[in-house]
């Protein structure tokens, strides 16, 4: 529909260069921010805010070192939790895919825990592990580990049977088949699992910081919300947004680099 409507317009002004998709995106963001800024200034409400106020607040928070301090605390929690989840999730996923017995033994637990809203576990974790980093790392771990485990398992399971037969035809040992065939074929799945895990891990991190309320970006948000400093409140939110976009974007690029054959169909 839209294409049909756009075509005649193009024919009428053939010399005007079309905007690139990237330009359209930037323009859209600029328009959105501009509208927000204008509306916020017009409204003049103390609990509403607008981009330039947030930018000023960000500069202030960076100058005092507050933002860096809390960001660092958050990053420690996120990276430790994620690292542990990768270190546990990949081998577990491989093991569960390799040994059917293990799959049957662990499946009820994995399915049940994955289905449970992980936030519901926060109080019990705090009770057991306290308010310190430990509890938050454990929570991020729980948020991250299942997508990694399940994707690894799926990746191993979805290996092309015909390639396994090729490996057997060339008398490959089981270990060599894992190295040459199964793991490379599962790698894109594993990376996609890590990408999902990062998204979930950010949620887990913020929620844990809300609940434990000692440090981190989540704590900053709660603190400034309680004192109605909306301009400062938005600073950690923007940082979190940047982290989410940046990290998942990085993983996507990594997926493309490591498994170019997965993207051929999409490109052409």
């Amino acid at each position: 529909m839209r294409v049909a409507a756009a075509a005649p317009a193009q024919r009428r002004v053939p010399t005007r260069p079309r905007m690139t998709p990237a330009a359209i995106r930037w323009l859209s963001v600029a328009v959105g921010l501009g509208a927000w800024e204008a509306y916020g200034r017009l409204l003049g409400s103390p609990i509403f805010t607008y981009p330039s106020a947030i930018a000023r607040a960000a500069v202030a928070l960076v100058q005092t070192g507050e933002l860096q301090f809390y960001l660092q605390a958050s990053l420690v929690v996120l990276s430790l939790g994620l690292l542990l989840a990768v270190a546990a999730g990949i081998p577990l996923g491989v093991a569960v895919a390799r040994w059917p017995l293990l799959e049957h033994v662990t499946d009820p637990y994995i399915s049940a825990l994955y289905a449970t809203p992980t936030v519901a576990l926060i109080p019990i974790l705090v009770l057991w592990l306290g308010f310190q980093t430990q509890a938050k790392v454990a929570l991020v771990f729980l948020f991250c580990v299942f997508p990694i485990l399940i994707n690894t398992y799926q990746g191993v399971r979805s290996v092309d049977r015909r390639l396994l037969e090729v490996a057997r035809a060339f008398c490959s040992t089981e270990w060599a088949t894992w190295r040459d065939v199964i793991l490379p074929s599962a790698l894109p799945f594993i990376l996609a699992g890590i990408r999902l895990a990062i998204g979930r891990g950010l949620v887990g991190m913020v929620v844990a910081e809300f609940y434990t309320s000692i440090t981190g970006l989540g704590y900053m948000i709660v603190q400034y919300a309680n004192t109605f400093r909306t301009d400062r409140l938005f600073v950690p939110i923007v940082v979190l947004m940047g982290m989410g976009v940046g990290l998942t974007g990085l993983l996507k690029r990594l997926e493309r680099r490591i498994a170019p054959w997965m993207h051929v169909l999409r490109e052409e």
Partner: protein
Amino acid sequence: MTAKMVVEGVTKRFGDVSALGPCSVQVQPNEFLCVIGPSGCGKTTLLRILAGLVPPDEGRVWVDGEQVRGPRPEVAMVFQHFGLLPWKTVWDNVAYGLRLQGRPKAEIQERVPKFIELMGLRGFEHKYPYQLSGGMQQRVGIARALAVDPEVLLMDEPFGALDAQTREFMQEELLRVWRTQRKTVVFVTHSIDEAILLGDRIVVLSSRPGRVREVLSVDIPRPRSGDRVRGLPRFHELRHRLWELLRAEAEVVR
């Protein structure tokens, strides 16, 4: 003379589909045996059984007098579906079998370029399979099998994805390799002309479940070249005979 491979009363079912047999064939040492038959008659299944990749339901297979119970390093297979590893370059795909056999580095460095060259893949060493045409991928699969210098070469429609010129060129290269390195070849094909050009004998399989319908000896002297062979009256006799056999089988299906 003892046979290189003996297939005796082999059958295979997949679920309630009877795919093959009972089928009995003998392959002589250094023989070039072509297998031809209607689509879906069990040619690939027969090769997989010969390679020890799937056990037959009934019957047995021997290689060098030893019963086949699994894949053997002296038997190499060229797959109809190419079977290349998408995450390995052409070079690494061709080296795949050699590395698995733990051949010395120097030998790998010497053999891989040789077969890349032979298959006309020079300049594509560092490309990945998805960057190649179907015909080139097929040639990588052939190079990979030849590189391990197998005694027995099982080839499943290896020239199916090639254009006519490349196909003819590859046929002559394969004959040259076979002649100089004395291999036993079982070659599945859809092409009557190809079977006559290449084979010492041609096994014609019936429609599914594939049984040996007839075995023809190709009494055309070697070396054979496409041009010369196609001019011979004997070629046309054989061609006609194969055509009749296959048409009869195709009618059974219909």
